[in-house]
Amino acid sequence: MREITHDEAPVRRRSNWRAEWFRTETLMGYAFVLPLMLWLAGTILYPLIASVDLSLQNIKIIGSPGEYVGLENYQRALESPDFRDALKNSGVWVVANAVIQTVLAFGAAVILKQRFKGNGIARIWIILSWVVPTVVVVIIWRWLLSASGGVVNYLLVNLGLADKPVGFFSTGNMAFFTVIMINSWRWFPFNAVILLAGLQRIPEELYEAASVDGATTLKKLRYITLPSLQPVLFVMGLIGTLLSFNVFDVIWLLTAGGPSGATTTLPVLIYETAFKRYRLSQAAAMSVITGVILLVFAAIFIRFMSPAADAEED
C-alpha cells in the first residue's frame, strides 16, 4: 500500500469532504432538516433580529413610531441602578434556586430509589406540584401564607412558634426568600425525577464492592454516586440555570417584583419596562443584554463543566 505524502493528505481530505457532502444520503439528511431549520429561523432568528432592531430605536409603546438612536438604550440600561439591582437579584435567584432545588431533589431521589410499600404512588405524588398550573400554585401559596387567616400563620401562632402572624411578603428579604422557596417547591420534583433516573443507572455492584472495601456512605457518594451522576448534573445545571433565570410567572404572580423592587429579577424588569413603563426599545435592549449574558454563561459552562471536557482534560 502506497503511503500518503504530507502534500497529498489535505487534498485527499478535501476530496473526501466533497464526496461526503454530495452523497445522496447527506443531501437527503439536510433536506429533512431544512424545514425545521427554516421554522427555527422564522420563530427564533427573526424575533431575535427584530429585538435587536427594536433595541436600536426609541419606541415606547407597541404600534407607535420610533427613530434609530444607536446604542443609547444599551448605555441607559447598563447605567441604570434598576438594571444592576435586577441583575444582582437574578444572580441570587439562580444560585439559591439551584442549591435548594438540587438538595431537595437529591434527597427525594435517594428516598424514591429505595424499595418500600407505596413507592409507586410516592413517585407519582411527588410530581403533582410540578403538574399543577403555576397560577394555581401561586394562589394556593398566597392564601396559605396570608397573615390574615392563612393556615401557615395559624399553625405558627398556635404552636407557639411565632408571637404574631408572619408577613411572608412584608419585607424585601423575606419576600425574596419566600418566592425562592415556593419556586423551589414547585420545580424540585422535576429535578428529582431526572436524578432518580440517573441513580437507577448506577450498577448496584459498585456499591457492593465499595462496601466490601469498607467505604463509608460519604465516600460512596463522593467516589461513586456523584461521578456517575455527572452527565445528569451537567444537563440539570445548564438547562436548569437557563430556565430558572427566565422564570417570570411565579415572581410576577406572587409579588409583581415587590415589595419595593426586592424581587425584581431581569425578566420582571424587562416586562415592567416594556408594558408598565411603556419603554419598549429600552426593554428590548435589556433583553439583548440578558441574552448575551446567558449565552456567555452557557459557553463557559459547557467549556468547563461538561463531562466530555473533563474526559479530554483527563
Binding site: I62, G63, G149, R277
Partner: protein, 433 residues
Amino acid sequence: MRSKFAHVLVLLLIAAMVIPAIPAQARQDKVQLTLWHMEGTTNRIERIQTLLDEFNASQSEIEVTQEPQNWGEIYTKAPAAIAAGNAPDMLFAIPDFTPILKDLGAVQPVEDFVAELDAEHPFYPAMVEQYTYDDHTWAVPLYNMAQNMWYRKSVLEAAGIEVPTTWDEWLAAAEALTTDEQYGVGLPAAKNLYTDQVVYDFMIGAGASEIYNDDGSLRFNNPETVEAYDMYNQLLQYSPADSPNWAWGEAEACFANATCAMVIQFTVISTYDTQAEGDAADLGVAPIPYKEGVEDPGTIAYANAVMLLTDDPAKQEAAKTFISWLLQPENYGRFLNMEPGLFLPVTEDGATADSFWEDPLVVKYHDQVQTMIDNSTSGRLFGFTSGRTFPSIASISAQNLLAQTLQLVAIDGKPAADAVAEGQSIMESAIED
C-alpha cells in the same frame, strides 16, 4: 339499490354543507361587534351575556359578542391588539387608560353621541369630564365606582368606639381595635392600582388632591401629600403584616373573615353577604376619614366607560345603538347590578331606575348602597380634578407610582418627606418624552 343509496348520500352531503351555512350567512349579514371588558368574574360575565342575548334578540342587523379581559393585562394587550389590527370594536376603560390608546390614534371621539345620550339620560357632569380633553370626549361613561370605609357596627360598639371621621379618631380607633385576633384596619401597600387608589384617598383627606399645577407641572411634592403618606404609614402598623402584597381580594377576605375591623374598599357587600354573616343591619359604611380642618374631604371615584375603537361607520352606528339600549333605565339597572352594590349609576334616571333598586341584594343593603352613592358625590380622581384633565397621568397610573412612593416609606423606611420628593422625581421621569 346502490344507485338510490348514492343519491341519498349525495343529498345528505349537500344538506350537511348547506344547513349549517344558513345561520352563518345570516350572521354575516349582521353588523358584528366585539366588546372587550374587564369584568371577568363569572356572575358579571353571565349578566353581561344575558343583556347581550336580549339586545341581540331585539336587533335584526346587529350582533354583539363579549370577550372578557382583565385589568392586569389590558394595558399590554390593547395596544398590541391595535398594532396587530385585531382591536375590539368597543373597549371598556377607566379614565387613565383612555389617553394611552388615544395617543395611538385608535379611539374615536364621541362628544356628539354623548350629547345625544345626555339629552335623554342626563349624565352627572363629573363622569363625562374625566373623558373630555384635547377638544373631544373619548368615551361614554357607563358606571361609577367610589371607595368607602367599611366596618362592622357591632365591633365598634363592643370597643366603645364611634365611627371615626377624622384622622386622629381613625388612628385611635385602629389602635383600640387591634387585638391578638384582629387588626384594627386593613390597608394595602403593594405596588398596584388598589394601593394607588387608597393612597389617593389619604391625599384627598389631607387636602392634596391636586397632583398637577395649572400649567401641567407636577405639584405632588407638597406638605399635604407628605402628611398623607405619613398618616398612611402610621395606620399600616395596625394592618396585617402581608399587606405589602395585597390586592382587592385580600382586603375583602380580611374583612369577611373578621380579621380586619375596618377596610377601605369600593364595596364588600357581595363577599360579606355570601362569605360572612350577611347581616345587613351590622354592616357599616362611612366616608373615609380625613385630616381635621380640611375643607373638601372626599374619596376616589371614577367612571368606567366604553371607548369606540372601530373606524367603520356601520360598526360605529351599531355600537351607538347598543350603548343607547344599555343606558335605557329598564336595562341599565340590571347592567349595574352585575355586581350589586359595586357599580353606581352615572345618569340621573339610572340612579332612580327600578331595575337598579329592585335587585334583591340592593334591597337588602339599601342603606349601604344609598350611602355609597352619597359618598360618591364627593369623589375625584388623580389627574382629573377641578375640571382639568392631564393625560400624562396615564404614565403615573400605569406604573403605580403613588403606590411605589408608599413603599419607599413603608418598606424602605424613608421619611415621608424624602419619599414624596423621590416620588415626584420618578413621576417626572416617567412622563418625560
